[in-house]
């Protein structure tokens, strides 16, 4: 309750405080989701990415209609920050790689190479050998445009249309990026395990 004699200025401060508290509460609940999304999008500076997103979120908190939608809303702000960073780096990102990626099949490669000869569930066990940090390393080997599409669609569960909106590209572009991204991801899952000796570490017997 406003104190008697607080005046309009004091009332405003109190309203602002309440807004700030409610933003802090809802943002605190989303911190793990935001942080892990940021960690998959960038190699370094995940915490800075989250902080910038929180700051922008706080400034535009009034535009959030329902607090229940805070999770996707904050994530979309974080993706905006990420996109702005990419733009600033102004690196030419290949949109259509010309290589053999399209032909690579991890499923077939595993059948042919049989890297876990004692496994009855080869494909399942192969994936299980990858710890969370290994998966992140594999993702970070992909160009950002593929990585971002894969992460948003398959890890953070955004619909393909939503991914297109978040990345500000046409739906067809997202579908192409997802397709190429999946193939590259499959290939890197294979190459990474070869290079790091992942399967020899005893995580899978």
């Amino acid at each position: 309750m406003p104190q008697p004699g607080l005046g309009i200025g004091g009332l405003m401060v109190e309203v602002q405080d309440r807004t700030r508290e409610s933003f802090q509460r809802l943002a605190t609940a989303e911190l793990p989701a935001l942080y892990w999304l940021a960690r998959r999008l960038v190699r370094d500076g995940a915490e800075d990415l989250v902080q910038e997103a929180l700051l922008r979120g706080y400034r535009s908190y009034a535009t959030l209609r329902q607090d229940a939608a805070a999770g996707p809303w904050l994530k979309s702000i974080l993706v905006n920050v990420f996109r702005d960073q990419l733009r600033r780096q102004a690196r030419a990102v290949e949109e259509l790689p010309v290589d053999q990626v399209e032909d690579f099949s991890l499923y077939q490669t595993l059948v042919e190479q049989d890297p876990l000869p004692y496994s009855d569930t080869l494909h399942h066990d192969y994936l299980r050998a990858f710890a969370r940090e290994d998966v992140r390393e594999v993702l970070l080997r992909l160009p950002e445009i593929y990585r971002a599409a894969l992460v948003l669609r398959y890890m953070d569960g955004f619909a393909t249309k939503e991914v297109a909106r978040l990345l500000e590209v046409p739906l067809g572009t997202v579908l192409a990026r997802l397709h190429r991204g999946r193939k590259r991801f499959e290939r890197e899952l294979w190459v990474y395990a070869q290079e790091t000796g992942l399967l020899l570490k005893g995580t899978v017997q």
């Binding site: 989250v50 929180l54 499923y107 077939q108 393909t160 999946r182």
Partner: protein
């Protein structure tokens, strides 16, 4: 006169598998993929693996925050 399309090759079926799992293909393409899967054991394996890989990716979501990160971000929020 319309030409009845023949069965699609593996490369085409594999290209569509994830969209097929997403139910994001047209009814015609869905039929083509299913027709292909009805006789191609390799692509059935590809389909199973695509499902596993999707589940694997989905399971990589958020984890707990490392304590130092949690402390830093909560401090940042408190200072807003």
């Amino acid at each position: 006169m319309t030409v009845k399309p023949g069965p699609i090759p593996c490369s085409e079926a594999v290209r569509q598998l994830w969209d097929y799992l997403d139910q994001a293909v047209s009814p015609e393409d869905q039929e083509k993929v299913e027709q292909h899967l009805s006789f191609c054991r390799t692509c059935c394996g590809e389909l199973e693996f695509a499902k596993q890989l999707r589940g694997f990716l989905a399971s990589q979501g958020a984890d707990e925050l490392p304590p130092h990160v949690q402390a830093r971000l909560e401090r940042f929020l408190a200072d807003l």
